[in-house]
Each structure stands twice: as C-alpha cells, then as structure tokens.
Symmetry: C5
Subunit: 254 residues, 5 copies
C-alpha cells in the first residue's frame, strides 16, 4: 500500500498534519463529551450515546495511528524545506480498517434512533451491514492502485452498495418522521441531510487523484477531504443524535 | 523463541500489521463498551460483563505489545521494499501468556452464564481450568519449534485437553438450554456454535507452517488466523454474553 | 508556517518551555477538577461544567502537542548554550486549531450562563460562532507572515469580528445582571471583566513582533502572552463559571 | 546497584521479559477488576478492595518501570543471539521501593479483614509496619552485594523482622477464625496459607545467587521467583480478600 | 537555569532517580486513592478530598517531567560508571512551577478544614495566597544562583513571607481546636505539627549547597530533601485530611 506521493512541500505537510490533529482532537473530545453526558438523557436513550462515543473513540485511535504513520513516513529535508517519503511509508489502510468498524456501528446507531419494532430493525441490519462491508472491501484495492483505470473500476463497484445503503436509510428516516414528536422530526430531517452530504464527500475525495491534479496536491485534497468528512459523519452526527436523545427525553418525561 | 521467518514483503508486513491494529481496536473498544454498559443489566449479571471486559482488556494490552514487537522486530529496507528481521526479533510468547490469563477467565464467564448451582460450578472449574493451562503449556514448545516433527507431537499432546474442554462445555451448555427462557436459549445455542467454531481456528492456524507453504506466507496466515480467532472468541463472544445478560435482565424484571 | 526565529538562548528556551508546561498542567487539572466536581451542582448546571472541562481538555491536548513540537523544533548546542531551529520547525498552527474548537465552546458556555430563552440563545450563537471562526481565519495568515505590513493588514481585518463579539457579549452579560440573584450578579460582573481583559491579551501578544523588538525576544513574549491569556480565558474562566453554578445551585435549592 | 550479570542468552532474556510482562498484565487488570467490582460488596468492605487495588496499581507502575529498565539495560547482539548489559544497567531498586509502599498496605488490608476493635488494630499496625520497613531496608544492601558473605549477613538480619511479622499475622488470623461465619473462616484459612507460602518465596529467590549457580541462571531464577511471588502475594491475595468481602456482604445482608 | 553539577557517580544518579520514582508513585496513587474514596465521606467534605487529589495529581505530573528531564540531562558513561550532564541539562524550574500551583491549593485545603465562617475564610486566603506566590518567586533566583551570596540574600527574602504564612496557619489551626469534636482535635494537632515539620524541610534542602559540601553531594541531598518533603507535605498531609473528613462524617451522621 505504498502511496504514489514521494515528496510534499513544507506547507503541504503542515496542512495535512494539522487537519489530522484537528480530527483527532474532535474525535477524542466528542467521545469523552458523549460518555460524560449520559446522565442527561433517559436510560433507554443512553445506548445510542454509548455507540456514538465508541464510533468517535475508535476513530480517535485510528487518527492517533495515522498521525504517527504520517510523521514516520515523511521526513523534513531542511528548515522550511520539502518532506520526502521514508522506507516506512504512509499507511493508507488505517482509514479502511476504521470504516470497517465504525460504519456498521453508525448504521446501528441510526436505526436505533428510528425506534423501529425489533423484527424490522434486525432485518434492516442484516441487509445494510454486509452491504457496507462490501462497499469498503471493494473500495480499498482502488484506493491503493497507482493507475487510473483500476481506481475507476473498483470505485464504480463500491458505489453500488454505497447507493443501496443511502437509499434504504433515506427511505426509513423519512418514514420515521411520522412516528416522532414535531420537534424531533426537525432534527431527524437534519440527520438525513447530514448523512447524504457527508457520506457523499468520501467518493469525491477518493476521486481527487484522477482529476488530473499533481500527485502531491491530490494527496493533500484526498487526506483533508476524508478527515473533514470523518469529523462531520462521526462527531457532528453523534452530537445531532445527542440532541435528538435530549429532546426525546424531555418529551417522554417533561 | 526466534521466528524462522527472516524476510516479509512490504504487502505481507502491512497485512499482518493492519490485522494486529484491527484486533487491538476491537479488544480495546469492546472492553470499554462492556464496562460503560454495566448499568443496562441487572446487578447479578454485571460480574459476567466485568469478566468479559477484563478478557478484552488483557488482550488489548497484549496486542499493544505484539504490535510494538512486530514493529521493532522487522525493519523496512526501501520504499515499498521488503522488511527484514532485526536482532530484537518478534516475540511469539505474548499470545501464549495472553491465553494463560484469558482462557481461564473465558471458562469462568461461560460457566457463570449457565447459572449452575455453586457446587457443580466449582467442580467444573477445578477440572476445566487446569486442563486449559495444560493445553497452552503443551502447545508453546511446538509453536516455537522450527522442525515439523516436534511441532506435530507437541500439537497432538495439546489437542487432548483441548477436546476434553470443548466436550465438557458443549455438554453443559446443551443441558442448560432447558433451564433458560426460550429467547435466551437461542442465544446460548449461538454461544455454543461460536465456541466450537472460534476455538477450532487456533489449532488450524498453528498448523499452517506444516502445510508445505513458504515460511513467510505461513507466518502471515498464522498471525492473521490467531488474530481473527481472538476477535471472535473474545469480542464477539463477550457481546453475545452481553446480549444474553440483557435478555435475562428483561425476563427477570419486565 | 516556519517561524522567523532560528535561535533562542538557553534562558529563552527554558522560559518558554516552563510556561508551556505550566499551561498544560493548569489545563489538564482544571478539566479533571471540573469533571469530578459535577456532583456538587444541580443537574441543570452540569452541562456548563462539562463544556468548560471540554474546553480545558482540548487545550491540554494542544499544549501537549505544542511542547513536543517546541522540543523537536529547537535543539540544544552545548551545556547552558543556545537552542537552534531544526528542520522539524515549531508548529505555530496548533494554537489556531485549538481556538477554532475552544472559542465557539466558550461562547456556548457564556451564553448558557445567561439563562436566556431558547430562541434568543439560538440567534446569538448563529451570529457569534461564525464571527469567531472568521476572527481566527483572518488572524492566521498574519501570524505566520514574516513582514510587518501583511501582519498589520490581516490583524486589522481579524479585529473587526473580534470587537463585534466582545461588544455583543458585554451587552448581553450586562442585560442578564437583572435576571440573577445579587450574589450571582457580582460573579457575572467578574466574568465580564475577565472576558474583556483576557481576550484583549491575544491581539497584544500577536503584535509583539512588530514592536521593533529583537526576533527571539518577540517570539518569547508572544508565546508567554498567548499561554498566560489561555490559562486565564480557559481555566480561571471555567472556575468562575463553576462558582456561579455553585451559587445558583445553593439559591435554587437551599 | 549494577547487577553482576553482564550477558543473558536470547532464551534467558525472553523468559525474564515475558514473566515481567505477565506480572504487569496481572497487576494492572487485578487493580481495574477490584476497582470496578466495588459495587458488589457492602460499603463497609469497599475500603479493603480499594487498598488491594492500590497495592496492585503501585506494583503495575513498578513493573512498567522494571520492563523499561530491563529493555534499556540489555541490548541484543544478533538475531537469536545473546543480550549484553548496557551502560544504563538494570535497576534492581524498583522492587525494594515497591515493597516499601505495598507491604505496609498489605498489612493494613489483612488487619482490616480481621475486623478487630480499633485499639488492637492500631497497636498491631504500629508494631508490624516499622518491622516491615526494617525487613526491606536490611535486605537491600544484601540484594546488590556481589559477594556471598555480605549477602548472607544482611539476609539473616532481614529475616528477623520477617519471621516476627509472619508469626504475629498467623496468630491474629487464627484467633479471628472464631469471630467469622463458617464459610468465611474457610477463606481466612486459605488467606493464612497464601500469606506464609508466598512471603516465603521472596527470601528463597533472594538466595538463588548463593546456591552456586551460574550468575545468569541465578539472575533469571531470582527475577522469575520475585515476579511469581508478587503475583500471588498481591493479585491472588487481593482476589481472596474480594471473595471474603463478597461472602461477608452476603452474610450481613442476605 | 543550568545546574552547577556536571557529574554524578552511578550510585548518586540511582539514588536521586529512585527517590524521584518513589515520589511519583506516592503522588499518583494518593491522588487516585483520594478520588476513589470520595463516597466514604459526607458530600460537604468531598471538596477537601478533591482538592487534595488535585494537589497530588499536579505533583505527579511534575515528577513525571522531572524524571524525564533527569534521564535526558545526565547520560551514563560506562557500566557502573559516572553520569555526565548533557546539553539538555536538568530543569530545576519544574519544582517552582509545581509549588506555584500546589501551595495555594494546600492553603485552600487547610482553611477548608478549619470550617471558618465564609468572610474570615475569604480574608485569610487573600492574605496567604499572595504571600505564598511571593515566597516562591523570591526563592527561585536563589535556587539557580551558582554563588553563595545571592543564594543567601534571595533565601532570606523568601523566608519572610514563609514565616508569616506558618504563623497565621498555626494561630488559626490552634483557634479551631475549640470548635472541633475531641477526636478530630487530635488529628488537627497532628496536621499542625506536620505542617511546620514538612514546610521547614524546604528551606533546609535549599541551603545544602552552601553547607560547604561537594557540589554533587549537595545536589543529591537537595533533590532527596525536596522530594521527601513533597511526599510528606502533599501525600501524608492529604491522607490526614481524609482521616479528619472520615471522623467528621461519622460525628455528623453516626
Ligand atoms: C462510494 C465509495 C467509497 C465510499 C466510502 C464511504 C461512504 C465511507 C464512509 C465512511 C464513514 C461514514 C466513516 C465514519 O463513520 C469508497 C470506499 C471511498 C471507495 C470509492 C467509492
Ligand atoms: C489445540 C491446540 C492449541 C489450541 C489453542 C486454543 C484453543 C487457544 C484458545 C485461545 C483463546 C480462546 C483466547 C482468547 O480468549 C494450540 C495451543 C494453538 C497448540 C496446538 C493445539
Ligand atoms: C483580535 C486578533 C486576534 C484575536 C484572537 C483571540 C481573541 C483569541 C481568543 C482565544 C481564546 C479565548 C482561547 C481559549 O479559549 C488574533 C487571532 C490573535 C489575530 C490578531 C487580531
Ligand atoms: C526475608 C528476606 C526478605 C523478604 C522479603 C519479603 C517478605 C518481601 C515481601 C514482598 C511483598 C509481599 C510484596 C508485595 O506485596 C528480603 C527483603 C528479600 C531480603 C532477604 C530476607
Ligand atoms: C523558605 C524558603 C523556601 C520555601 C519553600 C517552601 C515552604 C515550599 C513548600 C512547598 C510545598 C508545601 C509543596 C507541596 O505542596 C524556598 C522557596 C525553598 C526558598 C528558600 C527559602
Ligand atoms: Na516526520
Ligand atoms: Na504508504
Ligand atoms: Na518496523
Ligand atoms: Na522472535
Ligand atoms: Na529540544
Ligand atoms: Na515552525
Ligand atoms: Na543495574
Ligand atoms: Na533491549
Ligand atoms: Na540518562
Ligand atoms: Na539544568
């Protein structure tokens, strides 16, 4: 999984490094905030907060590894000078291992908010989770491919389960609006937009290397794109779930 | 305990490294999840969650050590190039020390779920725990043996207590089905299959070096096999125990 | 973002290093103190303590990174001798990433204390938070500029949203005095002065490099100024919020 | 306190290293287990669990330091080759500093279990704790002595307070049997044997270097002996105290 | 702030290193013990335990830094050989930064135990805390001065606020004896002696370099003196406060 990029300018290295650090801080403190705030929602909504905190916790672990690999993989040549790739290389696989763990948990969390009867919930999960594993498994070979053609083929294959998941979630979230108090419905709508908007950024970031950009610039845009998408899809998403749980708690027990 | 493997390709090193990291993340966050979710089951079922969390916690500590030893034991030669063994070597013993602590705890956890009268429980443990220590002690010399013959002899010896343990657990789990509410019985059956399926992977992984494969490939398959088996036998197993405890709590106090 | 400073005397390095360490210790233990003291205020005031603890926690993370970057970026030449800049350089961006996360949270915390009706609170936040992001974004290019002119231009631009935020907060805090018990009003007044005094130190520290001082001295004054301002604006501010929450708890439920 | 041992074979180094790691894992997770299980015993027995957890916690800290010093003190020469002493050396003092803190706490813990009237408890502690400090202080010079004679003399001196402590504890534990419910008495008897058996291993390990063995073998046996004794005298001892507290809780409030 | 000492014998280095490690372990586990034991005292006495835990926590952080600086500042020359100062040097300032944070908190803690009316408490604090900051600020230049004269002058200046603080605390503690239950008064008397005895050790340690001793010996005595004083003035002091809180809880609610 060696990255095609062998040299980054000082500015490019610092930009990617600081966005990684911003993502790590966001993940770590969203996870701690959600854990510490459990007492402020009714017991039956705490599971959703714990799952959100676990998603952000796992991502914090992976950004800790990504920063260390980035530091080990690129070494400075001179004060203010370029950074060049070292034999350790930069491990692109951390993200995909992270998604393998966090995407199924995010699906679980979203479905928990829909307050569906147990049977429907189980059938939804048995369809969506395998689909998400397939999406990630199909995407990885394209991610580490150097040439454009294999990148496009694997990307297209991965987009099929991707669209299926978004379609099913969108339909279910929409159907759930009727079953929620008005105030909560507004937040569920925001959750729906957040889902489509943030999950859409991943395939865009994936495609930067084929937009005819210089290798290093494509690398920077891809890493920044994935990291910003992660903060929105994990931290912001988790905080919206927290807000929904707060409102539902107030509604159930004024 | 030096490993016979002296060189890994870049891909082989990254594969093993990322599977180790996946295992560490799964262990760490399953342990934290089980600890934080204690409040969601009745007091008398919390001990089983705490023991499960301890099993995953101990495994997380050992995978942290395994990753560091793997990083210290193999050094990259060039960008995208092979990794070669260093004088520090890769410590194969961490797994066996881990099993020495976690297998007895897993036995304790499984028997706790059977809700047996105290006397039967004590007699079962005094037979199964020494058998598990024997299984691990007999397996280690074979693990670090370079030649096939000693590996087969020690492996065969270790399989005797192994089969005894699986047989006793299978019989006891089956007998307990009658004593559980229907819903719980379904999960106990799943626990039974999980036990046989996952514990079976360890001897298979152990045997990879003798399947006439190239040394490095056998090493990769063995490490990946052990790690995946660990995630199933510790994390998935602990989450099934959590589900059983949730159902029993609901049944006892609707 | 390489710093113009290439050499620090032994005393200058130790001064900056020890002020950074003082800030890290203050942040870390204020965060822990606020978390552990939640039980001593009524449930409805705990959110403010948790947000304060998160602000100090995030700052503790960034000072941990700042100290490591300072240590990596400047290397000693001889016993008691100068420290010279290394190719790793000193990462000035950590502060701005920290502000990007903590300033919006501080705004949220201050407005929570005002106990405003939900609608006014929401409208205030939608104005103040974007303004604070703008202030920080406009300030950064000036921070890393080597020449005085760009530093002054970017600084002036950043001061506009800065003055807007302080004006709005000052007016709202003053209006809230009437709605608070007398004892609390005294503390809210102290909060108001603390806000103006501490936030004012940041632009002063920013301007040190243009006061015609020697580069290294300006660097030291700037780093010490920012760090002292951080301890006051985050730790002291959080402890005053704690005191207000304690008094309000006593008033509500004597 | 430099150790007389300058070279360890690869096997000797791995054996000592893995036993140290086993001890660290046992200490860390016994401490966490005891802390998390406080809720399962009545409030008046929680102090004993907290003290046990502190004993195991302090020992976990020292084994963390011992492993680092062992790694820093011995460096590998070749793949599968010997390890040779470095100028950093291996710090033998960590154990004695650990005992200085944990032995008094263990005495406190044991006497708490006896449920003696406050006055007798105080007088016992004022005799036993100074005796334990004397035992450790007299033992250390012998520990780091290279020649046999000083090692024997200091060892003999240290054995006097050692025997006094064991005698007093044995008598008091025996007298307490009458005051405990039958079931608890069985465990107190086990505690008594555990105390004698495990504390006895320390002087035996101390004497290995004088049993005419080769220096390196004596070093390995001494380190393994001390570590195994620590796990029994701290972890197993703490878990037996936990069991007694559980039984007493059940007896007091069925 | 480079230390005048350039060389330490192997024994001198190990002695200072092990005393630092003893202090770090005592601080860390006293802080954790006090935090975990909050439930064993009435709510109104928990603030004193939390403040004591914070004092020990801050000191644990600084001893972690002191040990790293000592390790980085002195390098071994040969097995069992001397340690020589490196260009990194040993940071003497950590202690003074620690005192700047912990002494005011210790004053706060001691006054909280006196259970004074709020007004008297506030006026006492506004006099004692500035005096303590002055004591530390005046002491530091003397600490790092190489020659005896400046060391004596700054030391004398610092002793004025030092004596003032001890005098005021002694008088207030004595006056409070009448207001406490008999049993508590005994402990408050012990607190009073502990205060005078331990705070007195600091100026004595400070003066070691001027007692005409060899530089290295003075350095060892000074570091050991400060560390032992810290353990008594922070850990032992905190545990006596815990005992007083326990007794007051029992007295208020038998
Ligand atoms: C469509 C597509 C992709 C989609 C990835 C997604 C949708 C990732 C979502 C990650 C999340 C939500 C992480 C945190 O919770 C890939 C694999 C990049 C490969 C190219 C095509
Ligand atoms: C039969 C057999 C083995 C079995 C090992 C097992 C069954 C390990 C189980 C580990 C678990 C369950 C760990 C986590 O909880 C060995 C020793 C490889 C040696 C070869 C023969
Ligand atoms: C006006 C101005 C600035 C103001 C910065 C401020 C006001 C920062 C506040 C930070 C806080 C409060 C952090 C912790 O909570 C800059 C960006 C230095 C650039 C120059 C002009
Ligand atoms: C008699 C004797 C010794 C005894 C040591 C003991 C009894 C240590 C106990 C340690 C414990 C219980 C630690 C953990 O809790 C020494 C000092 C080796 C010196 C030689 C003679
Ligand atoms: C009188 C005097 C001193 C006193 C220092 C003291 C009294 C320090 C107390 C520290 C504590 C109590 C720390 C932990 O809580 C100095 C500064 C050494 C300088 C020389 C004169
Ligand atoms: Na780097
Ligand atoms: Na790479
Ligand atoms: Na490596
Ligand atoms: Na090896
Ligand atoms: Na440095
Ligand atoms: Na820089
Ligand atoms: Na040594
Ligand atoms: Na080593
Ligand atoms: Na050193
Ligand atoms: Na120094």
């Amino acid at each position: 999984m060696s990255s095609a990029v062998e040299t980054l300018s000082n500015g490019q290295f610092q930009t990617v490094y600081n966005v990684f650090s911003f993502a790590l801080a966001s993940m770590l403190f969203t996870a701690l905030f959600l854990l510490v705030s459990q007492g402020r929602v009714l017991p039956r909504y705490r599971q959703a907060l714990v799952v959100s905190a676990t998603v952000c916790g796992i991502a914090a672990y992976h950004y800790f590894r990504i920063i260390n690999s980035f530091n080990e993989g690129f070494a400075p040549t001179a004060i203010g000078g370029d950074y060049t790739l070292t034999p350790f290389g930069f491990n692109e696989a951390y993200r995909y291992v992270d998604w393998l763990l966090t995407v199924p948990l995010l699906l679980l969390e979203t479905i928990a908010v829909l307050a569906l009867p147990r049977a429907t919930r189980a059938s939804l999960l048995t369809k969506l989770i395998p689909a998400s594993v397939l999406m990630i498994a199909l995407g990885y070979p394209g991610e580490v491919a150097i040439d454009t053609l294999p990148k496009m083929l694997w990307g297209a294959a991965s987009t099929i389960p991707f669209l299926y998941i978004l379609y099913v979630l969108f339909v279910e979230l929409t159907k759930s609006l009727g079953r929620q108090p008005a105030e909560v419905a507004a937040s569920v709508k925001r959750l729906r937009i957040l889902l489509i908007a943030t999950w859409g950024v991943y395939p865009i970031s994936y495609l930067f290397p084929v937009f005819g950009l210089d290798g290093a610039d494509a690398f920077v845009l891809r890493q920044v794109g994935y990291s910003v998408a992660d903060v929105l899809a994990k931290c912001l998403y988790g905080l919206v779930i927290y807000k929904i749980a707060r409102m539902k708690s107030a509604a159930d027990d004024p």
